[in-house]
Every structure is written in C-alpha cells, then in structure tokens.
Symmetry: D5
C-alpha cells in the first residue's frame, strides 16, 4: 500500500556539525536499504527547503510507523502521513513495481 510521507527536518542549534553529518549518513544508509527492499519507492527534495516528499509502499500502518520512528533523524522531524490509493486515471503499470 502507498503512503505519502512529508518529512520536515529541524536541526537544533545544539547539534554539532559532526553529529549532524553522522546522523545524515546513517539516515541515507537506512533509507537506501529500504529503497532496495522496495518499501521506499520515491523521495524528492522540496526545492528551497529541508523537507522531502516520500512515497512508501508497505503492508501495514504498524510497519510504516516502525520504519519512520527508527529513522536516525526522526527526533528532529515533523512528519505528515497521507494514505494513498490507486487513482482511477492512473495507468496500471504506474502502480506495478518490479520488486
């Protein structure tokens, strides 16, 4: 099932550059594992902002919540989750992913 997840990242002043770089690397590795597993289908950067538009494809709410709360940057995020369904205008192949 598809979920749009909009993540708004707010870096507190107290977090050092080193720590923040460390967190961001961990975040990237964590995200890319999910992408390779086919759970994290799309991610785009919102131009001019430290936020993104992500599309997740998982089986249950619980699975998504578990994925999100274990994001290394989760403590520094405001997250908005929107459940998505296939659109009647969408071509079938738009919802079929290889894996």
């Amino acid at each position: 099932m598809f979920y749009m997840v909009q993540m708004f990242v707010n870096r507190p002043e107290s977090v050092s550059d080193e720590k923040w770089a460390e967190l961001r690397t961990a975040e990237m590795n964590y995200a890319q594992d999910l992408m390779r597993e086919g759970k994290f289908r799309h991610v785009w950067r919102v131009v001019g902002d430290v936020s993104n538009v992500s599309i997740f494809d998982v089986d249950t709410h619980a699975e998504l919540h578990d994925i999100l709360q274990n994001l290394p940057l989760f403590p520094y995020m405001d997250v908005k989750v929107t459940p998505l369904a296939e659109h009647p205008s969408g071509l079938p192949e738009m919802y079929a992913y290889a894996s």
Copy 2:
C-alpha cells in the same frame, strides 16, 4: 524536472451528473495521454478525499501551467504546485524513467 501537483476538486451543486461524468471521462483521457507521453509520472488518490497527489515531469513551468489549465476539471480545482529536486538519499534509478 519534477513537480508535485496536489489537486483538490470541488464539484458545484449546479453541475449535473451527466455533465460531471462527461468532464471526468475527458479528464481521464487527457491525463492518460500525458502519462503515455511520460509527462505525468505518478498519480495517487488521497484516501477519503476528492483530491490527488500527482508527480509531473516536464521541462518548464510554462509547459506545466499549460497542461494544468487545460485539464477539463481545472475550473473546479484548487491546485498546489511544489517544485521537487532529486534527493541526495535517492537511488539514481528512482529518477530515471524509461521514456
């Protein structure tokens, strides 16, 4: 280039069922042509609402504006456009479309 386009449709009371069905069919055909041309990459229905999350992939703002204002349902829509860039965590293939 990628744009998120969120379309919120508000059907006025004065539009008959027939007219609305006609408009929706025209909208689907128009959208699917764009999808086959590779300009309209993704569309999902927001669960419980008459709105969608769409991802367009076009070369210029002008092209997107032209596409949107010619949507048969455009006069009945509130539209929010968000320019998107590739995200550093995204896998390269996530931004490469066959056509």
Copy 3:
C-alpha cells in the same frame, strides 16, 4: 488496520428536508452493515457539531476509500483520514475484536 476518519457534514440549502432524511436513513443502514461486518468499529458524535469521529478497521487503503466514497452523504462531507497503529501503552485486548 485502524483508521480514524473524521467526517464533517455540510448540508447545502438546496437539499430538501425529505431528500436529506432519505440520505440520512441510507447512510445509517450503510454504516450499520459495515459495523456488523466489523469494518466500522466505532463512531461517536462530536458534541455540538454535525461531525463524527469514526474508527474503521479494514485491510487496505483502497478498501477504506471505496467504503467512504460510497457513503450516501459523501458528496456533502469533508473527510479527514488518519492512519492509526497500536500504541505501546495499549492493553492487547484493546485491539482484539471478537469479529
């Protein structure tokens, strides 16, 4: 899976008392069928408003969207859907329904 669905009903002036009574009866029958099927777990009236807080328990987003858009009063509603997961503080039996 659980979803909170908040429904805000706005009756247009043009809808007659008879038509509205008809719609509300159809809505109640439709809802109670879903309740007996175990898909519509909870519904409460928000005091002082023509809106409700509902908890649905269905397997997919698509199933929920289909249920909602076929509500007789759907054309007269603003709907907000919030996906819910089990809470770590919740007692197990709170999420186990007989049917």
Copy 4:
C-alpha cells in the same frame, strides 16, 4: 461519558534519554491502570507522529482533567479534548463496555 483526547508529545532537548525512558515507563503504568479501571477505553498511535488518539470514559470534566494533568508526560504535551456523544448510527453495543 466519552471524550476524545489527542496528545501531542514534544520532548525538550534538555531531557536526558534516561529521564525520558523513566517518564515513558511511568506513563505506561499510569495509563494501563486507568485502562484496567475502564476509564481509558482506547488508545491508538498516530502513524509517523509522537501523538495519539485516546478515548476516555469518565463521569465528569473534573475527573478527566485530574487524570490528564497527572500524566507523567503532561508537562511535555499539547492536549486537545473533544467531548463525544453516542452517534445515532452507532450500534448500541458499541457504547456498552463490559466494565
């Protein structure tokens, strides 16, 4: 009587991991006592957020206020309380709890 209580938790940076874990354990024990007493009927986690949707069943506003302000995490919460009544579409058994 039923109340929806939406709790939005904001952990300040200054609270250590140990202190926060301690608070969360106290919160769980406190909540589960109320659940066993039949005052705290339902709690769901909002997917992707550190907030919940709770349904309380108590006799007076004062009782609810007392319960809420004694939540161990109360100082770190924004709380929204919505009084709920039985809905005309609801099946009688939906409002009848064993204890």
Copy 5:
C-alpha cells in the same frame, strides 16, 4: 458540569426577514426556558459579531448535544464546544448556583 459553547451564526441570503425574525424569536424563547431551568447559565454577545459566548451547566455530553441541535438557529450555526472544570483559583461560590 460546565461547557463553553461559542455559537457563530451565518444567515443565508435565501432566508427572508420574516423567517429570520421568527427563528430568532423561537431561539430566544427556547434559550430562556433553558436559562430558567439552570442549564444555560451565561450568554454574552461578542461585540461587533453575530456570535456569542455561552456557558451551559448540564449533566452529560448527550444532554448538551440534544439541547444544541434543537436550537432553532442550529442549522445556521458553527458551534465550538469546550469542556470546562472548576479552576483552583476560583472562589467556591463562583461555581455554586442557586438552582
């Protein structure tokens, strides 16, 4: 128990002066009966607006909802209900009403 009820009245253009005067008279009689019964403790007009701040004193949410939805002007209102408890700074007599 005390509830603040803020009522915002919106008169549609289609309602004639006669009908509106009739509704307002019915509203006043209905309200004053409740006031004499001790259920409708306070009402103030918000200066410059067609809205009021009311304090109701009833035993249950259901009773309040029933009272509100039977207000003659209810179909033309947006209503916000806020449950109130006695304040620790309040003098005891502020919460004791003769009847």
Copy 6:
C-alpha cells in the same frame, strides 16, 4: 463591562518548581482579591489544558490592561481579550451581580 479573557500559560523549562509554585500562589491570591472586589466574575479551567476562560467586569480597557499585565504569570502567558455585551436572549439577572 464584560470581557472574556482566555489565558494560555507556557512554563519555560528554565523556571524551577519552587519558583513556579511561588508564582502560582501569588497568582491565586492576586486573582482572588479581584474576585472579591467583583472585577473577576468567572474563571473556568479548560479541561486538559493549562489555560482558562475568565470573565472580567471592569469599567475601562485601561483598568483591564493594568489588571492583566500585573498578573504574576503574565510574562508566561498568551492572552486573548474579547469584549462582550449583554445578549438579547439573556435574562436580566444574568448580568446583575450582587456587588
């Protein structure tokens, strides 16, 4: 003249428990003096929140502003003031206070 005053209290982390208790005691004494003088007619706690709904009865804006800015907790408050007039539906005695 009547004013609704909604006070939203935000305790900064830096204020110690002792200091806060001191401030709250001073606030209660200050408020109760005003209540006995008949200037502070009503106060209710908003259930689940650290905010209140108060009704003041003073002769001028200046007098109210002076009262409010000298509240011991004023520096920690967001305050919303709404001027109120007698409502045409209100019974005369609802606006007549013994002193």
Copy 7:
C-alpha cells in the same frame, strides 16, 4: 475608550448595483454622523482591499455593538473588534480629542 474595528465587506452577487450604491451612501452618512459626534475617530481604507481600519471612541461595549450592528453594510461584513488602551510611549495629546 478606544476600539480598533476592522471591517471586511463581502458583496454578494445577488445585490444589484443600485441597491449596493444605496447601501454605500447610507453607510457614509451614518458613519459621518458618528464622526461628527466624536465616536468614530479614524477610518482608513486598506490598500487593494474592500476593508478598512477604524478607531472608535465610545463609552461602553454595548454602545459600540449597537453602532456596528446598525451599519447599513453590517449584514455584508466580517468584523473584528480589538480593545485598545493608551500606550505608555504615546504623547498625551495623542489621546485628547477636541470633542
């Protein structure tokens, strides 16, 4: 006493040009009488909008409410009232009006 009153005028489509012109003339005459009486101290047009910023100087809330609800355009307005007091930085003469 001073009140800022912000008036936002919304002309319904159903009101004819003649009727609207009539209402506006009545509004101007009504307003200018109040100005000559010293109750309506200031009025400015918000540039680009059909709204104004007005400063009234009357003795009671009730007097202001009566003035406002009898504005010929009142049924077509959203009105926001803000009670104002003399500012400690203001020069005394700024609050002294000849009549």
Copy 8:
C-alpha cells in the same frame, strides 16, 4: 502616507530586567521623537497583550523601513505593515494633521 504597523514584542528569557528596562526607555524616547516630528501619528496598546497598533505617516516605504529597523526593540518584534489610504467616508479633517 499612512501605514498601520502592528508590533508584537517577544522578550527572550535571556534578556535581563535591567537590559529590558533600558531597551524600553530607549524605545520610548525614539518613538516620542518620531511623534513630535509628525511621523508617528498614533499608537495604542492592545489590551492584554504586549503588542500595539501604530499609525505612521511618512513619505516612502524606505523611510518607514528605516524607522522600524532602528527601533531598539526591533530584534524582539514580529511586525506587520498594512498600507492605508484615505477612506471615502472619512471627513477631510481626519487626514489633516497640524504638523
């Protein structure tokens, strides 16, 4: 030309009482010079808030911006500027200031 300037002052915890008193004195002197020059026509305190409604009368945007950014309390303010024009209902003398 007239501008409404609404200033919302937020005193950070870190600013000592002495420093704040110093800033407020400087602010008053600075404001009163502008008042005597006829650039700062009106200022009222919003009752119950640390904000004001001011009317400036200057020749250009640049002049106003320069005045505002040099307010001693400017770093601690949120400022909203609304350009104002003479209102057709206003009496001519309402816009004519001695100096």
Copy 9:
C-alpha cells in the same frame, strides 16, 4: 515606490464565458496601459493557479488603491498588498527603470 500585489481571481459560476472573456480582455488592455506608463513593472502567473504576482511602482498608496479598484476583474479578486523597499544586497540598477 514598489508594492508586491498578489491577485487571486475567483470566477463565480454565474458569469458567462462571453462576459468573462470580455472582462479578461478589458483587464489586459488596462494592465498593459499601466505597464507602458511604467507603473506596472512586473507580472508573473503562479503556475497551476488563477493568481499572479505583480510588482507596481507608483508614488502613493492612494494611487495604487485607485489603480487596483478599477481593474475590471477587481470584484472577482482577493488582493494582498505588500510594500517593498530596496534590499541592501540588490544591485542599484535593479531598481532603476528606464521610464
């Protein structure tokens, strides 16, 4: 002096296609005259919306208000006006226009 003017156009259902086309032509002619006079410096279409971002360059608020309220589409617009000053980072030539 520079003003940003954001115009949001809302076409009522009751306005015929012919009438709307007429209004839009009149609007374009009116706007282009102002552009040639150097009062209307910039206009861009907001992608996906029936709104624009315009930059006007006129001498007084009154002049701008007069220009705006005489726009043929003014009755169908929500308008937001923001006064702008030269920015310290801007190159001088950015504010110098040939005529």
Copy 10:
C-alpha cells in the same frame, strides 16, 4: 525560468553580532555574484520585516535548490518557493533580460 523565493530570516540569540555581520556580508557577496550572472533578477525587502521577495531566473529546480542551500544565511531561513510563468497580460519585454 522564473521562481519567486520568499526568504524569512530568524537570527538565533546564540549568534554573536560579529558572526551575524560576517554572515550577512558573505550573503551579500554571494547574492551579488548571482545577480551579475543574471540568475538572481530581483530582490526587494519586505517593509518592516527581516524577509525579502526575490525573483530567480535559472534553468532547473536542482540549480535553484543548490543556489539556495548554499546561501550563507540558509540555516537561519524559512524559504517559500513559487514557480512563476509568463503572464498573458505581460508585455514581452518584461520577460526579456539583457543577459
């Protein structure tokens, strides 16, 4: 292509005057280079605020995002990006820049 970029700068208390002056100088130099390259077409200061309205003219979202995130003051900004297209009423020369 044109983008409106609205930048809202929030200087944290912890940043010293020296550091802030350094950042602002770097910001100006960075901006003026972009202006001379023809990528940063317009910038105006919003009167009374530490925010600006900027018009960028670049070829892709990615280029804009790269420009913005490398602004020296970017970590202290809230940024809103609005894609703009040529307006049908605009004179051709309004969109033609020498370089």
